[in-house]
Amino acid sequence: MKYFKKGQIEKIIDRLAEKADVYVPMLRGQQSGFYSWKSYDENYDDLIFDLLNVYSPPKNIVLPQTEKMYSFDQQGQEIIIKPEEIPVEPNVIFGIRSCDVKAIEYLDEVFFTRTFVDEFYKARRDQVTIVANACYNPGTNCFCKSMGVNPLEPEAADVILREVENGYVWESKTEKGNILTKQIEDLLEEKEVELYEPNRFVRKVNYDGVAEKLKDLFDHPMWEKYSDPCQTCGICTYMCPTCYCFDVQVKNWGEEGYRFRCWDSCMYREYTQMAGGHNPREAATERFRNRFLHKLQFFNERYGTPLCTGCGRCVVACPAGVDIIRMIELIKGAEPSV
């Protein structure tokens, strides 16, 4: 097995950063997320490989919250359109957990398949090498296994790190991974080490049959009841590693301006606001229901999997304590209304 000591980790990141922008899990003030190693400030930032996960999901690396698409300038009768150049520096997401890797796999489905390839997403995604950190110690609100994610074997990872006593095992899985291995070869040692036994999950839920069942529950009174505490803020969707909805908007000054896309949230009223003034999801209950139907039914109908990787962030971060695990259980227990 290829192995390196924990004390070597910064050296390894330094080396990888010679050829790529390396995103690492950090605590930055009151925030935590994947930030560029270039921006690491040892007086302010704290590397957190020892924590379960970062609070802000890494999806912004492939799907930035705001992204310019093109700019325009009208000169007389002419309109000059300038496509936006997408920065294409190679980058490495270093230390990402299985749930968040799976989320990127779902984004790949959305932006690459079903007849349309999103060029903005592709430009960024093609440059990403994924160095995952296998999860032997699930957190209190983790339920990835229940959602079909293997915490120890993230499929889309190019390299899998496995935490062992005093160090990490480095396991390359793909050609992209092999390139990184070459780069840090002299920092790795050959050593047989014992892998940890994975700990058990505290929370579990059985998703079987939920997508099917939801087909008959659209008008069920339970949505009214369970959406009561929801304040319809966008935390659950913006903290979600899989939520990918975006809006396309424009900024202009006189004759020139630019078009950009930015994350949008189905929890906002504006999300479904139509040009004529009608809004099909005016009520909070309707928006609340849509979030669960998209995650647990509609996405499954189109892609054969729920749009949830069990990372637990929405469960933790919701100010009102709306809990998707509980929602799945409630859906399973609901009597279809007549």
């Binding site: 009151q30 705001t66 929370r203 304040q231 903290m239 809006d247 908007q249 900024k251 100010p319 009102a320």
Partner: protein, 300 residues
């Protein structure tokens, strides 16, 4: 602090004799440290109802969902939350006769959100046994408006000067201040949780949702973020009841109460003495809802 029995007793009585159609309180979540907003509509729902140390939420905000209906509502409020009710009544958002207010004299609550973060592996902070951050600045532990009171009257816990941090920012140079605010606002992900949790935000259509015209851009850039926060905070002037919910729910730790407190201080100084929602007098309006020729305008 545990008033579960008292709250259940009152709620049962109200529902049984038809005095209210629903009672807003809390229930336990998946963990001991999680209490969640809960609405009981029938006697069967009462068994789930609780009031304990983790009942941090300001439920008065949830009343906005029922402002167009006719249901009579029982609602459990702490001192700070009750000031929110005063604000809603002043703004004609709900009629007093639709409410049965169960006031709780509050000795301070703990924050389930911080406990969730700490216990779920997302933070280095492990001890969340202390009072919620918002309770450190409490000036009103006892309900200012109620039909029935639970618990013994409490002393305010707030520090001698809750504007200390505000003065610190005021004493910064313009450049320092700009750098400070750029740093905190650059974190904003525009999830609007601060707005949604806010009792002062009772507009039917928020300016940030307007599309014709769109007043504030949707980019998460420093200029759009600053614009969002400037507009948001200006709307808080004379309306913020210092319940601290906006800052508590912010997922990126923006010191929103610092900004709100600056406005509390300014309004008190320019139009006061005034502190929003401290007393309910029928027909009374907050400073920014009335026009008075004697209002100060020398800064315009």
């Amino acid at each position: 602090m545990n008033y579960t029995d008292q709250i259940r007793e009152i709620a049962s009585r109200l529902l049984e004799n038809g005095q209210v159609d629903m009672v807003m309180a809390w229930e336990k979540g998946a963990f001991d440290y999680q209490s969640l907003p809960y609405v009981a509509r029938s006697l069967e729902d009462i068994d789930k109802m609780i009031f304990d140390d983790y009942c941090v939420h300001n439920l008065s905000t949830s009343l906005l969902r029922y402002r167009d209906s006719n249901e009579k509502i029982g609602i459990v409020v702490k001192g700070c939350d009750s000031r929110g009710l005063v604000r809603l009544l002043e703004d004609n958002q709900i009629k007093r006769e639709r409410l049965y207010i169960i006031g709780v004299c509050c000795s301070g609550v703990m924050d389930p959100l911080q406990a969730m973060i700490a216990n779920s592996g997302f933070s280095r902070i492990k001890d969340t046994s202390g009072l919620a951050a918002k309770c450190a600045n409490c000036i009103q532990p006892n309900p200012v408006i109620y039909d029935e009171l639970v618990g013994a009257t409490q002393e305010a816990r707030g520090p001698a000067n809750r504007f200390e941090k505000v003065s610190e920012i005021e004493n910064m140079s313009v450049e320092e201040r700009r750098a400070f605010f750029e740093d905190v606002f650059s974190r904003c992900i525009r999830c609007y949780a601060c707005r949604q949790a806010c009792i002062a935000c009772d507009c039917r259509t928020c300016i940030f949702e307007e599309t014709r015209p769109q007043w504030v851009g949707r980019e998460t850039s420093i200029s759009d973020n600053m614009m969002y926060h400037m507009v948001r905070s200006m709307h808080m002037a004379g309306r913020c009841i210092d319940c601290g919910e906006c800052e508590r729910v912010c997922p990126v730790g923006i010191p929103l109460m610092l900004i709100n407190r600056k406005l509390i201080k300014e309004v008190d100084h320019l139009y006061g003495p005034y502190e929003a929602g401290m007393v309910y007098i029928e027909g009374q309006k907050p400073p920014f809802s009335v026009y008075d020729e004697k209002d100060q305008d020398d800064f315009i």
